[in-house]
């Protein structure tokens, strides 16, 4: 068939088997068309002589042109149908892949991404993002956490207290995301929770994106004095991490479940291993 449906008692995912991409998500009694893609921003390379000639580097994100979307072509798809966990493996290209999983009785979707080594043979630095696109009419508004604490409202191309120069419209709309980023309309709300500090934005209504991995070939002259080009293994780093997605009804305040999940992500169980033929008891 041209659709792969992956579901448990709480979550239903639909994939397009011809493109390999995610099509819809159903959970909490809500259904939404959500398309996920991966993309590359080419890092600007300048001589750092003037502000408009500054390179993209460790401190500054300056894309050279618009995004190049990776997943528009065929994505290889493999499905593992377990009883407690169901997993979909997506191979986007040689150095971008992902596992999408749902656990039984868990009300969220897990995206475990793997990016790298980012090729630099073409002498172009690359900044890799993932983007979730939906039909939610967010009207330019989205929300990011304040260093893990309260959620702050962000408005695209605006600042709260001054008129910004938005000549760099992509990076000018990026905000730090250390816990979660969300958007909503009157009915639906999408929240992405991450496992590390990342940059994030909503460049179009209904869209959320997160920066996953960067490899850049120039220093940005903001102090570090070297390019963000980690080559200690000869080829560049492989980064692996998780994003959790919750689709729920709209709410004026962050949901309890989202806040609880954020704590669980930061403070998951510590695991210790011992050899034993019997199970010890806790005193």
């Amino acid at each position: 068939t041209d659709e792969l449906i992956v579901e448990n008692s709480l979550v239903k995912l639909t994939f397009d088997t011809t493109t390999g991409g995610l099509k819809t998500i159903e959970m909490n009694g809500i259904r939404e068309d959500i398309h996920q893609s991966f993309g590359i921003y080419k890092g600007f390379r300048g001589n750092n002589g003037e502000a408009n000639n500054r390179s993209s580097g460790a401190y500054v994100f300056r894309p050279d042109g618009d995004i190049e979307v990776l997943s528009s072509n065929q994505v290889d798809l493999t499905f593992y149908n377990g009883t407690r966990v169901k997993e979909v493996y997506q191979q986007v290209n040689e150095w971008v892949s992902q596992v999408i999983r749902i656990y039984d009785e868990v009300n969220r979707v897990e995206f475990e991404w793997l990016v790298g080594p980012i090729p630099a043979d073409d002498e172009v630095g690359k900044e890799v993002i993932t983007r979730f696109s939906s039909g939610i009419a967010s009207k330019g508004k989205f929300y990011t956490d304040s260093n893990g604490r309260e959620m702050l409202e962000r408005v695209r191309n605006q600042r709260e207290t001054f008129d910004p120069n938005m000549s760099e419209a992509i990076s000018g709309n990026y905000y730090p995301v250390t816990g979660q980023i969300s958007l909503q309309d009157d009915e639906k709300r999408i929240t992405l929770l991450n496992d590390r500090a990342q940059g994030g934005a909503s460049l179009n209504d209904g869209e959320l994106e997160l920066m996953l991995h960067r490899r850049l070939l120039n220093d940005d002259a903001f102090g570090v004095g070297e390019a963000l080009n980690e080559t200690q293994f000869g080829t560049g780093l492989i980064a692996r991490g998780k994003i959790y997605l919750i689709l729920d009804e709209a709410s004026e305040k962050p949901k309890h479940a989202e806040r609880l999940l954020q704590h669980e992500l930061d403070q998951h169980f510590w695991k210790f291993f011992s050899k034993s033929n019997g199970v010890p008891s806790v005193n």
Partner: protein, 181 residues
């Protein structure tokens, strides 16, 4: 106290904005790595002493696997014996979470402290995630089970001698490609 002080100091240094955002020089990144690794390994002996006291496994190794996030664990890779995994919940309230332990492709049974079987399954780690061209790894599967933990809980992972029942539960799309392969 020395071990805990060392971990406390390392964590303090990791609050620097360069460590949080990754804007440090590469040599500094390696130094942070060295410092944090040394501090964690030192504090593991405190955790071991505490867990030997908190459980009746007085000779338990209580080893950590610092590569769990990349589906690798030297302890479960090297041993063919039964393994106890002790879960510590750092939160101030009980929590239920799925646990993934890198294992060989064997037939396992997981039991809790009362000897009750906990439903579990062995899931293959996809080859692209294993990144085998970049690292060797003998644990190409993960044992997945759901654990409810108030503060500390033990689970026994027993290797069963019986052969694993062969169930084909993977499918590849598009189907034509799978047939070709």
């Amino acid at each position: 106290s020395e071990n805990l002080e060392s971990l406390s100091q390392a964590m303090g240094i990791m609050q620097h904005h360069d460590a949080v955002t990754g804007t440090e020089k590469q040599a500094v990144a390696r130094d942070y790595d060295r410092m944090l690794f040394k501090a964690i390994v030192g504090a593991e002996s405190n955790a071991r002493d505490a867990l030997r006291s908190l459980t009746n496994l007085t000779s338990g190794e209580f080893e950590s696997c610092l590569d769990l996030n990349i589906s690798a664990c030297a302890f479960t890779q090297s041993t063919a014996n039964n393994v106890v995994v002790t879960l510590v919940n750092p939160m101030a309230h009980a929590s239920t979470q799925y646990v993934r332990v890198p294992v060989k492709n064997e037939n396992y049974i997981v039991t809790d402290e009362k000897g009750r079987e906990i439903p579990s399954e062995v899931v293959p780690v996809p080859w692209q995630v294993l990144a085998l061209e970049h690292r060797s790894n003998g644990t190409q599967h993960e044992l997945v089970f759901r654990a409810s933990v108030e503060k500390v809980a033990n689970f026994l992972i027993r290797v069963l001698p019986s052969p694993k029942s062969v169930v084909k539960n993977t499918a590849q799309f598009p189907q034509e490609k799978a047939i070709d392969e």
